[in-house]
Assembly symmetry: C2
């Protein structure tokens, strides 16, 4: 049994190396990669089935790497090990998990014991292990009371990319008015109206304000926008 570690911070990498060796004495090679791109290559060439993956990395982040790895071998087991439980990351991961795949999501702030336990559970027992906190974010983002639905999230991304209503309508095969309806929904959910309603009418541009709020609530982050940007270019190129 081999394990691939994808992590761009040297200290964390060696820490992981040790943790893996300690938690999984039965495992053979432990390969390391220091960013998403080389992680994909390693996973492919070494026929890796178990991956520990950081999310925030230079060059190519963990979500993209995981996506291509899973595209090639959907039965790969991936344990995400991240500093953040930003909704943008949680949602990004949830979006790419193949049907029936086993994965885990552990925060770096968790204890070493928790990490080791997760390593065994995911790689040996093929059991999904999601950190409490991350699970909380997931729940909240699914329960449509507070969190955004998928459609709302998608239109948020489109807006954050800087697309016009017309462009979004075209892209999503909707009428202009429908796009604007969804935008109103989005503004409602993000609470844009509260902050711009009272004494300060006309002080906020709802569209840009929504992006600002989403960013500071960690619903969006720069890497999610970049990912969307690439998808956009791809789609417009093929179309």
């Amino acid at each position: 049994m081999d394990v691939l570690i994808v992590e761009d911070d040297a200290l964390h990498r060696s820490f992981l190396q040790e943790a893996v060796r300690a938690a999984l004495p039965e495992c053979g090679h432990v390969v390391e990669a220091e960013n998403g791109a080389s992680g994909e290559v390693q996973a492919r060439s070494a026929r890796i089935e178990n991956v520990v993956m950081d999310l925030q990395m230079h060059e190519r982040n963990g979500i993209e790497a995981a996506r291509t790895i899973w595209r090639e071998r959907p039965d790969t087991k991936i344990l995400f090990w991240s500093n953040y439980s930003d909704e943008a990351y949680v949602r990004g991961v949830a979006r790419i998990v193949p049907e029936g795949a086993t994965y885990g999501y552990v925060l770096k702030s968790a204890s070493e014991e928790r990490l080791k336990l997760a390593l065994r559970s995911v790689f040996i027992e093929s059991q999904c292990v999601i950190d409490r906190e991350v699970r909380g974010i997931q729940q909240k983002s699914l329960g449509n009371s507070l969190g955004l639905s998928d459609v709302e999230y998608e239109i948020l991304v489109d807006v954050a990319l800087g697309l016009t209503d017309k462009a979004i309508a075209h892209r999503k095969h909707l009428s202009l008015r429908s796009v604007q309806n969804r935008l109103q929904q989005l503004y409602e959910k993000l609470g844009i109206y509260e902050t711009s309603g009272h004494g300060n009418e006309g002080w906020f541009n709802l569209r840009t304000r929504a992006v600002a709020v989403a960013l500071s609530r960690r619903v969006l982050n720069a890497s999610a926008i970049e990912r969307a940007e690439r998808d956009l270019k791809e789609a417009s190129g093929s179309h």
Copy 2:
């Protein structure tokens, strides 16, 4: 001579602890704090003169902590130790350095030797040490050919906050048209017109697009927006 370490990652913190002890054998206490807020408190109570500070932290980031520390004792020597050389961080640091203060900016990707050298240079020799790469960003952001000028940066932040032109005009004591002029400048500098000029007229909302581009170029980041948000609230409260 005492040193305060402000760093929210446990591994990095113990690594720093060791590096400081090795590089500065003459130093006495080495205090640790795991976020900006407690860092401020420690610096105040322990009368610290030398600080090693991470930038990206939960709760309260390094720039804010450094600002309050320097506000209380401008002769404190601070060595920033960060993963990123984002323009937003570089500019944020440059904005808060008091006149004549000594500080350093070292990337976490640098070698341990470089870190130790920087520790000695800053704390013992009172010499400013700025990483090559960071220096490069500084230069580029100052040379107004590519980078944004201060006015352009400020209006970018205002736009990213979601303010309307009118609100910005009011805030900055300008006419509406002047704000729009500056916006045009900004769009020019960020190259918004290139991507929305050719075949795709009307596909981008310039205002939101500018924010997207600034984010992916790392001119802006979430923490810069949050900082601006707090400044805004403060200003509108006092006014």
